[in-house]
């Protein structure tokens, strides 16, 4: 797994708890805000005691159709969800969230897509190079998890190359 993005271009409204938080958690003994390395652990503790820190369930339908379910934190980008929870999606997030590739391309259902924050020109520019581009495509590094997204299902596109490949294999087996 790539290490945590250092120069990531995340949307301004994304408040990730995987980055160091300047505000210490009110819970006694909670170490949130004490350091990047401890932040993830601390978040887990906080969640356990504090229902106001929201956990959101997100499902990813992988290339092979397998459903991967993750518990995301509000404010994380979907790329961070995949990285932090070690979801096994081949080649996801090659540029580590810097808007320089399109490997974290995800496809949304229409209704969910409409509720997302507006898309920037720069994100559209990279999406234009994505495999299997659809009208409801977004880059995972640019979409922040919100409470209202609980139960969201997104699809990892099946590469065009894969379809070609299936045809090729089909031809050979005949």
């Amino acid at each position: 797994r790539p290490h945590s993005p250092s120069n990531s271009k995340r949307p301004a409204n994304c408040l990730s708890l995987s980055e160091e938080s300047p505000i210490p958690c009110p819970h006694a003994g909670c170490m949130r805000g004490t350091g990047v390395a401890m932040a993830q652990l601390a978040v887990t503790f906080c969640n356990f005691f504090d229902s106001s820190v929201d956990r959101v369930t997100v499902h990813f339908i992988n290339k092979d159709g397998e459903k991967l379910t993750a518990t995301a934190k509000e404010g994380e980008s979907l790329l961070e969800v995949v990285v932090n929870q070690n979801l096994d999606i081949d080649g996801f997030g090659a540029c580590e969230g810097t808007l320089a590739c399109s490997t974290c391309h995800l496809i949304f259902e229409k209704d969910a897509f409409r509720k997302l924050d507006p898309i920037t020109d720069e994100e559209l520019d990279m999406l234009d190079l994505a495999y299997g581009l659809t009208d409801t495509s977004r880059l995972g590094c640019q979409v922040c998890v919100k409470k209202a997204m609980d139960g969201l299902t997104v699809r990892v596109p099946t590469e065009v190359a894969d379809i070609r490949r299936e045809l090729e294999v089909g031809k050979q087996s005949k």
Partner: protein
């Protein structure tokens, strides 16, 4: 070849040994049930294609050993030597490649030229599978008179020069002209234009080499034209790079409104990438700029522009007969439309004054060995989903497989596809694991006998650390070492 047959894989008898027919299907399953066999695989070339192929193989086969061979001492191919210095984000892929190289089932051997230090057939004897991912180390040539005059360079060499590729370190391009022409309208053309025109304060913070930064700082260049044989609907660059160029501080775009009038309607129904790309050009050429943009354009000291329907005929020599002073171009008209439109000379000719000409009309792969089928028309190894035609156990990925186009995601997907072909052939028994292969142990003795000392990944990490340390002194992410010998000295070779 001066290769003594006894030296190769001596432990295993004759190097010319063929896979034994007795160890076919049944042999495989019998052995498989008693002891799990590790496939020995090697990858030739350590650019994105090589590393993504290795990554996929290691991830999806829990026993595979993957060795990566590289001609240069240092890894990562075009990520290090091709990606523009002001695009550090793209270079983040190196982090994943480094993780791959750190796998205890992966080894890196730099400073080994396959085809010279070790032959493809020797690799085939040492490994169950050989993946050729050596990219496109050549460029297409214009094939016009005057191409060899001073002041004319391939964009490839120019990129290699500012990115510290050892073979291009002495290019010393002549930057004393005010106008440059880049022949070609792809992302490489935009990269060189951007690097030539970028404010020095921006370039200084990148890993551009010290020498080229100094040369660019001293250049007289004010204007760069990107010239294409076809029209605005056929440009090959992508929108991210175009937007970056349009927004480049200190510069203004020179776009002839006549080239773009009416195009907005033409692209309404074409696929989104081409439509958005065209719309951005149309907007910049035809619409009144916003206040901020207008102010930037007004104060700009440098400019760049797109010229269409011009096909180079001849580079014109200066009075001394040595340097370029301009270029003669045929004006073309388009036959057909869309991506497949063809440029046909109209008979009209135009001459254009410029002292710097960079040809950026595409990279090209070279054949590595006469034993590997090569399609010289397409400039690729003949293959089907990465399986080299008529050569069991031989594969290819990346540019040498599909041609020199596409972005990192394209190479990633195509390398995963090739790796998948290898995995399928391992599973089907086409690659016979009971035929034991010695892997690097065999190659080590070959290299040793030829006096070649490979560079390991930890050696590279020493070079890397030295480069980063030198960069830190001058506020850059790294100062690349451009001298081959200096690299080798640093690691005690």
């Amino acid at each position: 070849m001066a290769m003594s047959s006894g030296r190769v894989c001596w432990k295993w008898g004759s190097p010319l040994r063929r896979p034994r027919p007795a160890a076919g299907w049944r042999g495989f399953s019998r052995l498989h049930s008693t002891a799990a066999l590790a496939p020995q695989i090697c990858v030739v070339g350590s650019g994105p294609a090589g590393f993504y192929t290795a990554q996929h193989l290691l991830k999806h086969h829990k026993l595979a050993q993957v060795d990566i061979y590289e001609k240069l001492p240092v890894p990562f191919g075009l990520v290090r030597f091709g990606v523009a210095p002001d695009h550090p984000e793209v270079k983040n892929v190196i982090n994943t490649f480094t993780q791959t190289a750190h796998s205890n089932r992966c080894a890196y051997y730099g400073n080994v030229t396959v085809g010279k230090d070790v032959l493809v057939k020797e690799l085939k004897q040492a490994y169950h599978a050989v993946v050729l991912s050596y990219g496109a180390e050549d460029n297409r040539v214009l094939g016009i008179p005057g191409e060899n005059l001073s002041g004319v360079y391939s964009a490839r060499a120019f990129v290699g020069w500012y990115n510290g590729l050892p073979e291009n370190r002495d290019l010393k391009p002549d930057l004393n002209s005010e106008t440059a022409v880049v022949l070609g309208q792809g992302n490489v053309a935009l990269d060189v234009a951007r690097v030539l025109l970028s404010p020095l304060d921006m370039l200084r913070k990148t890993d551009i080499t010290e020498g080229s930064l100094a040369a660019i700082a001293g250049s007289k260049l004010k204007r760069v034209w990107l010239v294409g044989r076809r029209g605005p609907l056929q440009v090959a660059f992508t929108i991210k790079e175009l937007r970056e160029m349009i927004n480049l501080p200190g510069t203004r775009p020179l776009l002839d409104p006549a080239d773009f009038t009416g195009l907005g309607d033409v692209v309404k129904d074409v696929p989104r990438p081409r439509r958005r790309l065209t719309e951005l050009m149309v907007k910049s050429a035809l619409e009144k700029p916003g206040e901020k943009e207008a102010a930037r354009w007004a104060s700009a000291t440098k400019e760049w522009g797109l010229k269409f329907q011009r096909s180079p005929l001849e580079v014109l020599p200066a009075a001394d007969g040595k340097r370029a002073r301009g270029i003669r171009m045929a004006i073309t008209s388009l036959e057909g439309s869309g991506e497949s439109a063809r440029a046909v000379p109209t008979g009209e000719v135009e001459e254009f004054e410029c002292g710097l000409i960079l040809s950026s009309i595409g990279y090209r792969s070279r054949p590595i060995d006469s034993s590997v089928p090569f399609d010289s028309k397409l400039g690729i190894i003949s293959n089907s989903v990465g399986r080299v035609q008529g050569a069991t156990g031989l594969y290819c990925s990346g540019w040498v497989k599909r041609g020199p186009t596409g972005v990192i995601v394209t190479t990633m997907n195509d390398s995963f596809d090739t790796a998948q072909s290898v995995l399928e052939d391992l599973q089907s028994g086409l690659l016979n694991l009971s035929d034991s292969k010695e892997g690097f142990e065999c190659v080590r003795s070959i290299l040793h006998s030829r006096g070649v000392q490979p560079v390991t990944f930890s050696d590279w990490e020493k070079i890397d650390a030295a480069e980063v340390a030198r960069g830190r002194l001058v506020g850059k992410p790294r100062e690349k070492i451009v001298d081959f010998q200096e690299m080798l000295q640093l690691i005690g070779h």
